[in-house]
Structure formats: structure tokens, C-alpha cells
């Protein structure tokens, strides 16, 4: 029995398969793999959700800017990351980004158009780069970019359409929840012991 286990372990070490860290295989092709990867990665979903809420609160012009800048920046960062072999894991930085975006949503700060586009570009490039280093592939990144377009369009347009005061308050409450989640993420990142 021990010999069999030892042989199996030796085979695993000497003939390793492909490491699939951060990849989701749907069996439906790389585009759907990318879509699933995004949907199953809360570290990506939450900042995008926060940015879409913020863009919606800032008005339709900001919403339109984020709608186009974010997917393009994500795809650009991802394509750059494809040629990098190392995988950056920066949970503290991701949490800090979410903290800042969630706080802006909670405070109902209306962003200038340039700042909204800049935030979308920075966020998209950074997260896209991380996706790229995870070897998501160009088609997978395309799937992510398409998903981003749809998510931002739906969320930002919904927030823009809100008229009742209580509905904007609900969005701000969602922002405060994102702040709380990000602070706990920071705690996990620097967890003692």
C-alpha cells in the first residue's frame, strides 16, 4: 500500500499537470471560462459593483464613461499580464480599493467625469493584469470584458434611474456594507497568528 502511494506521489511530482490556479473550467470554451472566473471571484466582483454604483450615483455621463473605459482597461491589463509568469496576490490592495470605492458610494460623492474614468482605468488595468497573470487567455479576458460591460450597464443604469430618496439611501447602505466587507478583508490580510 505504502509503495503504491509513494509511486503515485512520485509520479505527481515528476510529471506534474497544469496548475490551474484561479481558473474555472466550464467545458463551454474559454469565453465562458472567463465569464465564470469573474462571476466566481468576489475580489473582482465587489470592486466592479462598487464602481458601477458610484458611476450611477454620479450620473449618466459618468456611467457611460465607466461602461466603456473599465472593460477596455481590464482587457489591456490582462493582455499585458499574459506575458508575465508571476502571479500577484495583493489582497490588501484589493481591499483598500474596495474600501475607497465603498466609502465614496456611502458618502454619495458625485465624481467628476475625468476622475470616474481614471478610477475605472486604474481599477480595470490592475484587476485585468491579475487575471492575465492567472493565464486566463485572450478569449477568457474577452469574456470578462463583455461581462463587465453588461454588469456596469445594468447596475449603473439602474442607479441612474432611481428617483425616490429612499432608493438612493439603499445604494448608500450597500456602499457602507462594501466598506465593512473591505475592512474585514484587510483584517484577514493582516490576520495575527
Amino acid at each position: 500500500m505504502r509503495t503504491a502511494v509513494g509511486t503515485a506521489l512520485a509520479a505527481l511530482v515528476l510529471f506534474p499537470g497544469e496548475a490551474r490556479a484561479h481558473l474555472v473550467t466550464t467545458g463551454l470554451g474559454p469565453v465562458y471560462d472567463g465569464i465564470s472566473h469573474f462571476a466566481l471571484t468576489p475580489e473582482d466582483v465587489l470592486p466592479v459593483l462598487a464602481l458601477a454604483l458610484l458611476a450611477g450615483l454620479s450620473g449618466p455621463r459618468c456611467g457611460r464613461a465607466v461602461l466603456f473605459v473599465l472593460p477596455v482597461a481590464w482587457l489591456s491589463g490582462g493582455l499585458l499580464g499574459l506575458s508575465r509568469s508571476s502571479e500577484l496576490l495583493l489582497p490588501a490592495l484589493t481591499a483598500s480599493t474596495l474600501l475607497a470605492l465603498g466609502a465614496l458610494v456611502a458618502l454619495d460623492r458625485k465624481l467628476p467625469l475625468g476622475l470616474a474614468a481614471g478610477l475605472a482605468a486604474a481599477l480595470g488595468f490592475f484587476h485585468g493584469y491579475l487575471n492575465g497573470t492567472a493565464k486566463l487567455g485572450a478569449l477568457g479576458l474577452s469574456g470578462v470584458a463583455a461581462t463587465l460591460f453588461v454588469v456596469v450597464a445594468l447596475v449603473a443604469a439602474f442607479v441612474v434611474s432611481l428617483r425616490a430618496p429612499w432608493s438612493r439611501i439603499a445604494v448608500r447602505v450597500a456602499g457602507s456594507w462594501l466598506v465593512a466587507i473591505s475592512m474585514l478583508m484587510l483584517g484577514w490580510a493582516f490576520r495575527a497568528g
Binding site: A19, L23, P91, S176, A180, R191
Partner: protein, 186 residues
């Protein structure tokens, strides 16, 4: 270069403990009666005070509680946590009982002060091996749901009998807090 066998199974997003992270995070705030009563009391008090306190207090509590949780996770010591939680139930229950109407900033300060104790207790109790982000999402949603329960109960405030019932609920919370306090001293 040979890779470790573990890499063969390195399918992040399906890590050990991740599947249960969201659920255990959601259940954690509602697993202790002291936490539950205090958080529901915050919602009821907000409903008694009306807008903007009805949403400001439940917004303040999770954010400050998360800050306390972060301190707990990072190993920053906070003395008298259990006593602080018990006193929070006494004070918040008494405020509901009295239907107190302090200035909004003071109300938020009171709620935020006690939220640190609740958050710190949760932060030091969080189990190892869970997905941090999913646990955090569940944790915040669970807390928000408790506040929502309090606010929903507070909807009866529009009727005179409802106002009496809410004040009675505050008395129950305060009495329970006394019990938690005695238990904390023991």
C-alpha cells in the same frame, strides 16, 4: 522543474473552507443572543428616531463593527470585550425603553462605540481555514439582516400600542443585558 503535488489541485475558488465561508459568516452574528439583541435594538431605536437615524445607525454599526473585527483579526487587544457587549445591550435596551432622542451625532457615537466591542469579539472568534472574503460578505449581510429585523419590528411605532410594545422590547433587551453582565463578571 517539478511542482509540488498540491499544485495539481490548485483550483483557487474551490479552496478548503470556501464553500462554507459564506454560510458560516452569515450565521456568526446570529449565533449569540447578546449580539442578536443588541443589533435588533439598534434597528428598533433607529425606527423610533425616524429618518435619517433609521438608516444612519444601521449603517454606522456594521462599518464600526468591521473596524473592531479588523482589530480582533490583527490581534489588537481590547479589554473588557464581554462586559462591553453586555453593557451595550443594557444601554441600547434602555434607550429603546426610554425612546430617547439624543442629537443624531450622539446617537451614532453611542452605536459606533458599542459596535467596536461586538466586532472585536467576532474578529477574535473567526475560525481558521475559511475564505476571508466570502466569510466577510456573509458576516456583513447577517449583521445587516439583524438590523433589518429591528427596523421592521420598529414599523409598529406608528401605532400607540406599537410604541408601548417597542418600549417593552427595549426593557427585555436591557434585562437580558443585565444577565449578560452578571455572567460576564462571573
Amino acid at each position: 522543474m517539478p511542482r509540488l503535488p498540491a499544485l495539481l489541485f490548485a483550483a483557487a475558488h474551490i479552496q478548503p473552507g470556501e464553500a462554507s465561508g459564506l454560510l458560516s459568516g452569515f450565521l456568526h452574528p446570529i449565533s449569540g443572543l447578546d449580539h442578536v439583541l443588541a443589533m435588533i435594538a439598534v434597528g428598533i431605536w433607529g425606527a423610533q428616531l425616524g429618518p435619517p437615524a433609521v438608516w444612519l445607525l444601521p449603517v454606522t454599526f456594521p462599518m464600526v463593527m468591521a473596524f473592531g473585527g479588523t482589530l480582533g483579526l490583527m490581534g489588537v487587544a481590547l479589554p473588557g470585550v464581554e462586559i462591553g457587549i453586555a453593557v451595550s445591550a443594557i444601554v441600547l435596551g434602555a434607550l429603546v425603553l426610554a425612546e430617547a432622542r439624543p442629537p443624531l451625532a450622539l446617537a451614532a457615537l453611542v452605536v459606533g462605540f458599542f459596535a467596536i466591542f461586538h466586532g472585536h469579539a467576532h474578529g477574535t472568534e473567526l475560525p481558521q481555514g475559511q475564505s476571508g472574503i466570502l466569510y466577510s460578505i456573509g458576516f456583513v449581510i447577517g449583521t445587516g439582516c439583524l438590523h433589518a429585523v429591528g427596523i421592521t419590528l420598529g414599523l409598529v411605532h406608528r401605532w400607540s400600542s406599537g410604541r408601548v410594545a417597542l418600549r417593552a422590547a427595549g426593557a427585555v433587551v436591557a434585562l437580558a443585558g443585565v444577565g449578560f453582565f452578571v455572567r460576564g463578571l462571573a
